[in-house]
């Protein structure tokens, strides 16, 4: 008699739901997944090793490229590790700017997640609606750093520069006449803070719109409720963090438990799930977007009233002002040294973690006193999540596997590093 074997399906790396370059080897009994074997490494760029060959301050750009949908949060962890080693603290205004941009990044990430998750389950309009809102946030990134994604805006000792007083404007073209351009520029008349305020006023209504499409949609519920359930204890054992852990009912958020930057001054709540299924993870992330919006508003209010320096006044760590360099030899030399050789960091070890949109993103830095890291270890939140994929999908159907994968919010830049 013929031996009955399960169907083995190679899912990815080129698959619409593979979220980049995930390769899954699925063992299927009919449509039911009996075993899932995630293969990683297809986006491995050796960031940790690369960091050992560059001066401390030149590695920030690599951090953007780890989890390439939550850029500034990654920078934040790395920059904080350096600050801990050198023993400096960023000025308070820089701390507020960092808090604000961490939350802008969180919204950016959750919007992409929401769009991709909805697309994976078949609701394709939500994807484009989310990208419409992301556009404005990218404009904020662009206004402060010049880059729309890989900003390199956070620097050891502060941020690259203060928030700009005016926003870039659209110009009329063949496809957009004067009147239309005027409309598009309507919320760009004032400073960046005005632009962000305008966004925060609009955004809650937009979240309501997404929720109208999904939250009570019967198909959406059928596809998400009781799919990929992880209990609170098991989530802790598996090393979950971020929304994945909170959806399972564990109230753990680094912003509350180990406050950094200005989070201890902020008034916000952390949403917690009850069942730990895909639907709870969806609800938790939706609520986090609303809370992020709240935090951004508080930061904007403070930033409007408190001008001040945004980077430490220490030429050994932070580059001197452009104006000084024009007629000050000392400043010129500092600038040259900073951007070629960098600076030596006292020997020691430091671990700094931030609550990145996906969970705890940590940078563990060892310095031997040279101008380059001796070793940099990055803790990517997505890694333990993906490692639990097998356990979460077992016994579910193929289509649920896709729903679970998107509920984990996997980005390969950070998992493969």
């Amino acid at each position: 008699m013929a031996e009955i074997r399960n169907y083995t399906l190679n899912f990815g790396p080129q698959h619409p739901a593979a979220h980049g370059v995930l390769r899954l080897v699925l063992e299927l009994d009919g449509e039911v997944i009996t075993r899932a074997d995630p293969h990683i490494g297809l986006l491995h760029r050796g960031t940790e090793k690369l960091a050992e060959t560059k001066p401390f301050n030149q590695n920030i750009g690599y951090m953007d490229r780890l989890d390439y949908v939550s850029m500034m949060c990654n920078e934040h962890a790395y920059v904080r590790a350096i600050e801990k080693l050198i023993g400096i603290e960023a000025p308070i205004r820089a701390q507020y700017i960092r808090t604000m941009f961490d939350e802008i990044t969180r919204i950016l990430n959750h919007l992409l997640w929401l769009g991709a998750a909805a697309l994976d389950i078949g609701a394709m309009s939500v994807f484009l609606y989310c990208f419409r809102e992301r556009e404005d946030l990218f404009d904020c990134y662009e206004a402060v750093s010049g880059a729309r994604m890989h900003a390199t805006y956070y620097r050891p000792g502060g941020v690259y520069r203060d928030l700009p007083d005016n926003m870039p404007q659209y110009q009329a073209s063949k496809w957009h006449n004067e009147k239309e351009t005027e409309q598009r520029n309507a919320n760009r008349k004032g400073s960046l803070l005005d632009f962000i305020t305008d966004f925060t006023e609009r955004f809650p209504a937009r979240i309501d719109e997404y929720e109208k499409l999904l939250t009570n949609n019967r198909i959406w519920k059928q596809r998400n409720v009781d799919i990929g359930v992880v209990s609170a204890d098991r989530a802790k054992q598996l090393g979950f963090s971020g929304p994945m852990l909170r959806a399972s009912g564990v109230e753990w958020d680094l912003r509350k438990m180990q406050p950094y930057a200005m989070y201890d001054k902020m008034d916000f709540d952390i949403p917690v799930g009850l069942r730990g299924d895909c639907y709870d993870r969806y609800l938790v992330r939706i609520e986090e977007m609303r809370q992020s919006n709240r935090i951004i508003r508080q930061c904007v209010r403070w930033l409007r009233e408190h001008p001040g320096p945004v980077i430490v006044d220490d030429p050994k760590v932070a580059p001197p002002k452009r104006v000084q360099m024009k007629d000050d030899m000392e400043a010129m030399i500092h600038h040259f040294k900073l951007f070629t050789e960098g600076y030596c960091v006292p020997a020691g070890e430091a671990y700094a973690a931030v609550e990145a949109p996906k969970g705890e993103f940590g940078a563990y830095l060892i310095s031997d006193g040279a101008n380059k890291p001796y070793r940099l270890k990055l803790r990517a939140p997505g890694f333990p999540h993906l490692a639990a994929f097998d356990e979460m999908t077992r016994g579910h159907m193929l289509a649920d596997g896709v729903a679970i994968l998107s509920s984990q919010d996997i980005v390969f830049g950070e998992i493969d590093r």
Binding site: Y7, L119, D120, I121, G122, A123, R132, M397, D400
Partner: protein, 345 residues
């Protein structure tokens, strides 16, 4: 014998002309349905859609066709070459020949056969063989999944669709499309969608599932099984599947309009004043108007809803739709028997 054939020649030629007169507008309809789909979904999603080829993108479908025609047809190794080629033809042919029995206007019909409903129903069911063969012949696991899902889905939804049809047959007392339309004569209130409302909804939902369109597009299931049964197809052979899908979308919309919304009947019939005002509008125009409503609904649903899971789809079909029809058919029978007006008096 030969003389006999020659005598028949003009009749043959006449039929051929009629076939061409149906097929060409149909294929144009398919081409512009794809364009409408991209435009409508584009505007729903806050985009513009294609607007570069021709005036406001009007030539986009032709650009697509030319692209597809010039693409290489890739035949996977270890696939069944013969069946791989035959499958798209198997899918397209039934989708086209079903049109023979569809009445477009009072006298515009290729074959006014008495069992028209059965014929169209049979043809739309045969299309699943093409999908099954395509999935099997491709020798690809994704295609196999698509084919299996599609087979299960089409067969189970065929049943609810068939039961919904039974209701219409009881109500109209005929299997001839023209008779079914004429049975709805009188006024808008005489159309079957009112007494047969549950069957109308069942037929509509099953029609969407039958054509493998969102939210029942499991056979393609972009995010799960990539493109399902036609994952290995490219160029013209892919275009044929595409054509078949859209032709059957239009077909289902026509069926919905004929069976439940009075086909080519004017909605203002029987209303004094308005009836005379709109008397000049040809029946074909009313028909197309009703059809475009259903086609728009297809696109609207696609842009709005998430996709069902395989078992949930089966549950909906077997536990919701079929029981609904089974309950409503006796109700219709009683209504007909008691001559309840205005529909059955």
């Amino acid at each position: 014998m030969i003389m006999g054939l020659l005598e028949e020649l003009p009749a043959f030629a006449w039929i051929l002309i009629k076939i061409v007169a149906i097929l060409i507008p149909l294929l144009l309809g398919v081409a512009y349905l794809t364009f409408a789909e991209r435009k409508v979904i584009g505007y729903i999603q806050g985009r513009i859609g294609p607007n570069r080829v021709g005036f406001r993108g009007m030539l986009q479908p032709f650009a697509d066709i030319i692209k597809l025609v010039f693409k290489e047809i890739i035949i996977p190794v270890r696939s069944n070459r013969y069946l791989f080629f035959v499958a798209p033809i198997f899918t397209l042919t039934p989708a086209l020949i079903a049109w023979a029995a569809i009445p477009f206007a009072p006298n515009l019909i290729l074959a006014n056969i008495n069992a028209g409903v059965l014929y169209v129903f049979a043809m739309s069911s045969i299309a699943v063989y093409g999908i099954l063969i395509a999935g099997w012949a491709s020798n690809s696991k994704y295609a196999m999944f698509g084919a299996l899902r599609s087979a299960a889905q089409t067969i189970s939804y065929e049943i609810s669709m068939g039961f919904a049809l039974v209701g219409v047959l009881i109500a109209a007392g005929s299997m001839n499309f023209q008779d079914i339309i004429l049975a709805q004569q009188g006024s808008l209130l005489n159309w079957f969608f009112i007494p047969l409302l549950p069957l109308f909804m069942v037929f509509w939902i099953s029609g969407i599932a039958e054509t493998n369109r969102a939210p029942f597009d499991l056979a393609e299931g972009e995010s799960e099984i990539v493109a399902g049964f036609h994952v290995e197809y490219s160029g013209v052979s892919f275009a044929l599947f595409f054509l078949a899908e859209y032709a059957s979308m239009i077909l289902i919309s026509f069926l919905l309009a004929i069976l439940f919304l009075g086909g080519w009947l004017s909605p203002f019939e029987g209303i004094p004043g308005l009836d005379e005002w709109f008397a000049w509008v040809p029946g074909l125009a009313w028909m197309l108007l009703k059809v475009s409503f259903f086609l728009f609904a297809y696109l609207w649903l696609r842009a709005t809803f998430p996709r069902y899971r395989y078992d949930q789809l089966m549950r909906l079909g077997w536990k919701v739709l079929i029981p609904t029809t089974i309950v409503w058919i006796p109700v219709v029978a009683v209504l007909v028997k008691l001559n309840v007006g205005p529909w059955f008096s």
